[in-house]
Symmetry: C2
Amino acid sequence: MRTVLPSSGAVHFSTRGEYGVRLMVELARHHGAGPVSLHEIAEHEDLPRPYLEQLVISLREAGLVQSTRGAHGGYELTREPETIRMGEVVRALEGPLAPMVCASEDPAHAGVCGRTGFCTVNLLWVRVRDALSTALDSITLADLTRPRAAAHPFHAGTSADPVPTPVAAATPTN
Amino acid sequence: MRTVLPSSGAVHFSTRGEYGVRLMVELARHHGAGPVSLHEIAEHEDLPRPYLEQLVISLREAGLVQSTRGAHGGYELTREPETIRMGEVVRALEGPLAPMVCASEDPAHAGVCGRTGFCTVNLLWVRVRDALSTALDSITLADLTRPRAAAHPFHAGTSADPVPTPVAAATPTN
DNA sequence: TCAATCCCGACGAAGTTCGTCGGATTTCGC
DNA sequence: GCGAAATCCGACGAACTTCGTCGGGATTGA
C-alpha cells in the first residue's frame, strides 16, 4: 500500500534515491532483454508510475539509461551492471553528496559558507562525505541483483561489521 | 546573517546536527573552565539562542553535557573531549543513523519495510549506514577543537581529498 | 488509425524543519 | 530579600521540501 513512512532518523535519503535505485535494479535484472516499460516496473515494485517518470529523467540525463519511445518501448541500461557504481546512481538522483553545505562535492556550493578558513568543524563533514562516497562507489549495480546469499563482496575496509545479519530471520511485522 | 542555505544535494544533515556540533565544539574549547552560557555561544557562533536551548536538551538527555542553573550558569561537558566520539553527538541530535527506513540502527524502525527478506537493495543502505557510523565514531570532539593545520588554506571542493591524518596517530598538538 | 509508451511542465497537499514566543524555575550577587 | 542571569519547558506557526498527481504532447509498432 506504500504507506508514507515517518522519517525517524538522521541522514535520510529521499524517495528519489530509494525508488530510483530499485528502478535501476529492476532494469539490471532484465538487462540484455530489450527495453522495460515503466508500467511494468511500477506494477512490480508497487510504485507510482508518474513519479518514476520524473526520476528516470535524471537517470537518462546522467547517461545511465537509454529510452526507446513508442509502443513496446521502455528503458534499458547503457552499460553492464558490473560497471555501474551506485555512487553514480545516487548522485544522478539526488545531486552531489553533501552532508553539509560547506562540504559539498560540487565546489560551486561549497563556497557559500563564509566560515571556511576558520571553521574546524568542516573536517567532520568532509570525512563523512568521503566515507559515504567510498561506500557507494564500492558497490555496483550487479552486486544488488545477485540473490542475497550468493553475494560475496569484498569488505570495503571501513566497517568492522561483516554484516552476516539475518535479515531474513527478522519476523515481518505485519 | 545566517541566511538559510538551499539544500542542494543528498544525504543532508539538518541544522540540529550542524548547530549542535558547533555548540559541542565551543564547549570543548572552554572545557575545564566552568559552565558556558548559551548566550555566549549563540553570540559567538551567530546562532539563535532559543533554538540552541532546544538542541541542548537532547545533548543533556544523552548525558553528553550537564547544566548549571541560575546566574552564571551554563553548560559543560561531562567527559573529556578526547573520549567523546562524534557519532554519539550526532545520534543524540538527530536520532539513530538511518539512510533508509529499512536500514535503521534502531531495530524498532527497521522492521516496518515489508520488503525485508526479498529486498536485495537493503544491502546498499546497510553498507552506507555502517560507513557513516564508522566515520563518525572515528572522530572525537577533541579532533575538532584543534586549530586548523597551519598554513593550509584548504579550498573545499576538491573531491579527491586524501584525508591525511589517521585519528589514532596522536600527535599531541596544542 | 489506435494503443502503448516516453516526454514535459505545472501544480498542489502533506509533512518536516527551523525557528519564535511566553513564561516558569533556579541560583548568584548585592 | 530582590533582581538579574540563566536554564527549563511547551506550544505555535511560517517557510520550505518532498512526494507525488494531472493533463497533454510526441513518437512508434501493429
